[in-house]
């Protein structure tokens, strides 16, 4: 009896798709209302992000970037969901979700400084509604419920969106965040980018639940599973989730996707837990290939356009790295000074001690 109940829930979570692997529209009724320019802009962002990811990996290997979690394979998931947001919406990212916060307004050089562990990377410019990437898996999910309640109390027509991975969906905070947002009818969107592996642990080992999307049921919020390699599907479900959120109905979006690279650049070796066959299978579903095909069929994209983006991305990255290099090095006294608005007795003494050391 119990099993049957679970099956009844699971049968409601079929994967939503608009563009198939060949770039063909398989769900015409669901096509989002996007202009040709918007479709091109989305492609622009995906290509740009792919180039930036490749550069970031190589800069990390050269020792010119620090902590970095590769994003290739997840561009549709990240950029599609972000493109459905408004400027004043809030983003609470996980550590891999740097593209969303950069497209939301964090200057690229600051993203690089964040990667290097320079505090200026976290000094978010005025009017950019993001928090720095979260390291603790799930902490941002409960915070998103708080930001969403804050937006609601301020009568803003804005939402809070937060991102985690398939492993994040096993955390208690994942449930608590969804449950709080549901209970307060707060405008929140919870995105789980199910990229199949939490570092090395496959998603099948995370839970007996057949989908992550169905976990929304327990919290009484909307849940949807979407092809995370399909940018139109990602955009469409997020757009709907945003409308629902503003009506006090949060949504859990499970984006089924894949990361081509390692978990982070700090020594992870995916060959220890993934097969080449699996990598190849997912690469056939690549978000850029299928969307490029879709746009080329509509005469909205060509090699020339693609090359323009590649060149622009490379130039921007070069400039951003230079700007990061030119940022003054941080001193221990700088870090003491940003601890509190008014320094307490102990830190005031330590500040003087470090300033003295630094003056020598």
């Amino acid at each position: 009896m119990a099993t049957k109940t679970i099956e009844q829930v699971e049968s409601h979570f079929e994967m939503f798709q608009i563009l198939n692997e060949n770039g063909e529209v398989v769900n015409k009724d669901a096509m989002p209302d996007l202009s040709d320019e918007q479709l091109q802009e989305i492609m622009h962002r995906m290509v740009y992000t792919r180039i930036w990811d490749q550069r970031a990996i190589s800069l990390n290997r050269q020792g010119r970037l620090g902590f970095y979690a590769p994003v290739a394979g997840q561009e549709a998931s990240m950029i599609g969901s972000h493109y459905a947001l408004e400027k004043e919406d809030w983003i609470l990212p996980g550590y891999r979700d740097v593209p969303q916060v950069v497209w939301h307004g964090l200057p690229l050089y600051q993203a690089f400084l964040y990667s290097r562990g320079h505090f200026h990377g976290g000094q978010i410019p005025e009017g950019v509604n993001i928090l720095p990437p979260q390291i603790i898996i799930g902490a941002q999910i409960v915070q998103a419920a708080g930001v969403a309640l804050g937006l609601k109390r301020r009568h803003k027509d804005n939402v809070a969106i937060t991102y985690t991975g398939d492993g994040g969906a096993s955390q208690g905070d994942f449930y608590e965040g969804m449950n709080f947002a549901g209970a307060y009818e707060a405008p929140a969107i919870f995105v789980v980018q199910n990229n199949q592996f939490a570092i090395s642990v496959p998603v099948e080992e995370q839970s007996a639940a057949k989908t992550i999307a169905q976990k929304a049921v327990a919290a009484g919020i909307h849940g949807v599973q979407v092809d995370g390699m399909d940018i139109l599907a990602m955009y469409s479900v997020t757009e709907t989730a945003r409308k629902n959120a503003l009506n006090g109905e949060p949504t859990l979006i499970e984006s089924v996707c894949y990361r081509y690279g390692p978990h982070t650049m700090a020594g992870d070796d995916p060959t220890r837990y993934r097969t080449e066959e699996l990598d190849n299978e997912w690469e056939k579903k690549d978000p850029l290939i299928r969307f490029r095909k879709f746009l080329e069929d509509k005469d909205l994209w060509n090699e020339e356009k693609e090359n323009e983006v590649v060149d622009q991305a490379k130039a921007d990255i070069k400039e951003a790295i230079k700007q990061a290099d030119d940022t003054p090095k941080q001193k221990a006294s700088d870090l003491i000074e940003i601890m509190y608005e008014k320094l307490p007795q102990n830190l005031q003494e330590q500040l003087e001690e470090y300033r003295e050391k630094e003056s020598k």
Partner: protein
């Protein structure tokens, strides 16, 4: 002026700040209509409405996350953890997130957050309701830890905590909630965070304490006085950061000190005070600084509290040991 218990003073402080600043929100488990399990928020929901004083689902990490989110959207949250022992459920949000927010945003976002929670032994609670866990929070950079011992300080410190643009962990000793009344001004006033208070002046030995142990020390000082010793009693009031200036000034006068805490020897804040005295005042000391603390066991089950908690006889014994060193 009105005669108030500590809990009345706490309620009064929240009422004052709810009136003063529309960004102040008060919430937690049972905080709304029920007024909190100790009635600290009694009547506040009726007075300020459900949007400002409200219940939360029963999940402490969720409450902590809610707080950080409300803080970055411009609110001034006053969250309650129903009992201090439940802080483990939300340690990440409190010390991993809220306390680090200003630092990790390079100073961009402060967290004007007050976290209130009852703690302290002597009231025969179930497990994990009474533990003195202040040392765990006190060793976390980015958050102050405040512990009032009187109704007057309770109101003034809580108003300071709510007005602070950095997070303050505000601990309420359960045994002191209704143990005595004192004159508390009805108007608003603040007591500075980070400042200790000399509760009793004396020239022979300094007793340093916080929370309920302040009253234990005052009783001990009365008895010591009968035997001809004048003890000075310092109430830390803020256990992080510690007001070493006041302590050192006292020790320069008395040349002897005993650190008194309800927490276990290995816990609490006594070790910090003693280490700092070593660095700052050793040449003024005529005897080693001794301490009164609970043994390094788990906080006891209710029936064993009386034999476990430090009492005035323990304080007198240690005071005499340093006096006669």
């Amino acid at each position: 002026m009105a005669q108030m218990t500590m809990i009345q003073a706490i309620t009064d402080a929240m009422r004052t700040e709810l009136k003063n600043d529309e960004n102040v929100l008060v919430y937690g488990e049972d905080v709304g209509q029920n007024g909190g399990v100790f009635r600290a928020t009694e009547g506040l929901q009726d007075e300020f409405g459900e949007e400002r004083v409200f219940d939360t689902p029963l999940a402490e990490s969720g409450i902590g996350g809610l707080t950080l989110g409300l803080a970055v959207t411009g609110f001034r949250p006053v969250m309650e953890i129903q009992f201090f022992g439940f802080v483990f459920e939300t340690m990440d949000e409190v010390v991993g997130q809220i306390a680090r927010l200003r630092y990790r945003t390079g100073g961009k976002y402060g967290a004007p957050v007050t976290i209130r929670t009852p703690y302290g032994g002597g009231v025969k609670t179930p497990e994990l309701h009474a533990d003195s866990l202040e040392g765990i929070i006190a060793q976390s950079p980015g958050i102050s830890v405040v512990i009032p011992s009187t109704p007057y300080d309770a109101k003034g410190l809580l108003i300071s905590a709510i007005r602070s643009n950095d997070p303050v962990f505000y601990l309420e000793h359960m045994k002191l909630y209704r143990s005595f009344r004192e004159e508390v001004p009805e108007e608003e006033y603040t007591v500075e965070i980070g400042k200790a208070d000399v509760k009793r002046e004396g020239k022979d030995v300094t007793l340093i304490a916080y929370g309920a142990m302040v009253h234990t020390c005052l009783k001990a000082a009365d008895q010591l006085a009968e035997e001809g010793y004048e003890a000075e009693v310092i109430d830390l009031r803020t256990v992080s950061p510690i007001d070493m200036d006041t302590i050192v000034e006292s020790v320069k006068k008395t040349n002897r000190a005993v650190m008194v805490q309800e927490a276990q020897r290995q816990a609490g804040v006594g070790s910090n005070v003693m280490a700092d005295l070593n660095e700052r005042a050793i040449l003024h000391l005529e005897a080693p600084v001794l301490r009164v603390a609970a043994p390094d066991t788990v906080f006891p089950f209710a029936a064993a509290e009386d034999v476990w908690l430090p009492n005035e006889n323990d304080v007198i014994e240690k005071a005499k040991a340093v006096l006669n060193f």
